[in-house]
Symmetry: C2
Subunit: 441 residues, 2 copies
């Protein structure tokens, strides 16, 4: 018999490249939550993990320890194979807002716990709250009830869901330990597994405006998410999608919700529609409602054509305290009164619209937040009207900035103009392919 | 013009293998001291340094930032080239106590700031405090005055000396970042450079009872200390000495002081005398009082033979409030009333006396401390009478345990017996060579 290792010995073991077992990782997380392991010790552990990594078994164990630091939502009374979608975050990514009601309308329950915007990427909760009255701070009880009644419900991460992830994420943010795949995997999966889901479709963004800038890193993250999620007993598929360019036209809160609602009416920009269809098809096949992607797409299109998707969204908005009339008439959503055009200085072919630059401009104008406790302005935003591949002449309007005052708008318009690359020589530039890869177990 | 990097960006830069400049490191340490850089951020930085290291310029900069977090003692009014000795710590290492007055008696001022015992190694302050009335908590003013008057003074690290080192060391101790050469170098040198010295002789211990268990690691540490200390503008020499076996016979507080005082009288165990002579010769040559080691040894021997060393020690003890009569008559020092012999179970040649095991037994009996805030008992200790190389018969007394009660003594004696390796076959076993190497700039 040997005495258990001290917490510092566990740190040393990981530092020296050793492997921790599930009991060790449970002890680390539990000790962190009860104060026996101090913040500075967890910070040192996270940095050791940054260098030494975690193998799949360790990542599963860390995920489960974080998951069980809080409450796991019980959706056992909701019949059906419950599937959620998670995006690693991008600029103009409003897909959750149209995807959840659309998939639910096709018979697959979608319990969705979303986040707020931080840094250059927006957050689904901020966008949804542009709907007057819409509440995202529901109890676990109401969440389960609405998923059961409507087929979908979209709330925020409560204090009860994976509190260890919340504390660890806050620590990573200030200790240079964010960019670490096993820690990212454990953070994403611990929250998602707490939702009581059976399957998860991941939208791993790749490009300038994404957390993962290149396909290699994005593939590594997607692969790790699929492997670890599968090992934790869930069906998991990951799709890699482009985030060099903002997704869709609108970047903002009310404006992105408006654009997502358009999709439910059979309208909306082609890339937003395509992204919704690709992810929705994965969810329907995973949920057992379609035998393949083609079959699933037909179901999704029918749910839009018949109005089922709109009706599901109306019921969800109503159940969550929002004004359901915005679903039928998205133009009811607020928009800032001043519009400043972004004008092309020269002619040519648009070869790039830098998603990161657009995202940072959105933060600067109040549509996003640089600090977690800041408020967002739902009315302001950017319409990225002209996308890569388009031919423009000098003086053409490339984009529009929606602001509350002209002076601020002009400064933002200048930044957005800088986000455009216009090549006078290039005559043809194919738009980026939306889907860059797909990974399954 | 570019804006300075944020503190988190500095952590990222080191994490990614970048080099920080002196201003960056000063900012990190200053921010840590004023609270802008939290404990958990420093912990993450230290772990990043564990993996990425610091180059010499960075180590010098970190050392100087830590040094200047507090007060640098001003000994400019003390004439002469001031030299101190620092040991990386071992079991039975009482050398400072005889070395400082001996070297001072030969005309080289020795300002010495020492530490307390922690873990299996003892501390000079604990040993000195076995002298009735002896005070180690003097003011910087009194310290400088006594060094000037007597030639040497031995105090503890005050709150004013390198407070950043104190806080960083406490953090390293609980975040598995102790075993990192550049951090060890910065910690040692920041404290020593705060003493106002011109030169430093390092005794880097190597072996079972040392922090560095093998010659390779000890050499790496010694080399880094010499390189960085030289770059910081000091004369620095390092000697590597054996710490597989306890140094001398006595392990304890009063008993080690007694043994060190014996050296000043021209007595004492051969290894203690030799270690004192080797280090003392380095200090005299460095201090310009001798042209080479042979010359220096002659001076040291003469200072002992003439009684100068004893007189210097008497003056120092008196100046620091202690009873100077213990210097002439070391048997005045306290000793525990109960002695339990450690008896050989079988005959043969002693091939090893495990210094680590002896050090841990000393902690267990109250001579050392497992926690920084524990008290030590000056009277208890172990006499390691029989050393490697000796032939013994079953029933011979190997060592003696000095305790306050018999039962505790028997348990300790059993541990000490376990520290001995007696080989029935071996007929000759050379005692370990004390000096294992020497490194200079």
């Amino acid at each position: 018999m040997h005495s258990p290792r001290t917490l510092v010995e566990l740190l040393s073991a990981k530092r020296d490249g050793g492997t921790l077992d599930a009991a060790d990782l449970r002890r680390l997380v539990a000790s962190f939550m009860d104060g026996a392991l101090a913040d500075y010790q967890m910070a040192a552990f996270l940095m050791a993990v940054f260098f030494r990594g975690l193998d799949d078994a360790e990542t599963v164990a860390l995920t489960e320890a974080m998951l069980h630091s809080g409450r796991v939502l019980d959706l056992s009374r909701v019949p059906g194979f419950k599937v959620d979608k998670h995006s690693t975050g991008g600029v103009g990514d409003k897909i959750s807002i149209c995807l959840a009601p659309l998939v639910a309308a096709c018979g697959v329950p979608v319990p969705m716990v979303s986040g707020r915007g931080l840094g250059h990427t927006g957050g689904t909760l901020d966008k949804l709250e542009a709907i007057p009255g819409f509440r995202t701070d529901l109890s676990a009880y109401d969440f389960a009830r609405i998923v059961g009644d409507v087929g979908t419900c979209m709330i925020g991460q409560t204090q009860e869901i994976a509190p260890a992830d919340k504390r660890i994420y806050a620590l990573r943010d200030v200790t240079a330990t964010v960019e670490c795949i096993p820690l990212i995997v454990a953070s994403i999966l611990s929250k998602k597994l707490a939702e009581g889901i059976d399957g998860l479709v991941l939208d791993v963004k790749v490009g300038r405006g994404a957390f993962m800038k290149d396909t290699e890193r994005a593939t590594a993250l997607a692969t790790a998410l699929v492997r670890v999620g599968t090992r934790a007993g869930k069906r998991v598929v990951a799709v890699l999608t482009d985030m060099d360019t903002p997704l869709g036209v609108e970047v903002g809160n009310a404006s992105e919700t408006r654009e997502a609602l358009e999709v439910l009416h059979g309208r909306g920009p082609a890339d937003v529609v395509e992204c919704t269809m690709v992810l929705g098809a994965e969810m329907l096949v995973m949920g057992g409602k379609a035998k393949d992607a083609a079959d699933a797409r037909a179901l999704l299109e029918r749910a839009i054509a018949r109005g089922d998707a709109v009706r599901t969204m109306e019921r969800m908005v109503e159940a969550q305290g929002g004004d359901p009339r915005v679903v039928a008439d998205p133009s009811r959503l607020v928009v800032a009164s001043v519009t400043v055009p972004v004008v092309a200085a020269s002619g040519g072919t648009v070869t790039a619209v830098d998603a990161l630059a657009v995202g940072l401009a959105a933060v600067a104008m109040g549509a996003g937040r640089a600090r977690a406790d800041a408020a967002v302005d739902p009315a302001v935003g950017i319409s990225v009207d002209v996308k890569p591949g388009a031919r423009v002449a000098a003086g053409d309007v490339l984009a529009r900035v929606h602001v509350r005052d002209e002076a601020a708008g002009k400064a933002i318009a200048e930044r957005i103009r800088g986000a455009y690359t216009i090549d006078a020589q290039a005559h043809v530039s194919a738009p980026a392919t939306l889907v860059r890869g797909r990974i399954e177990a």
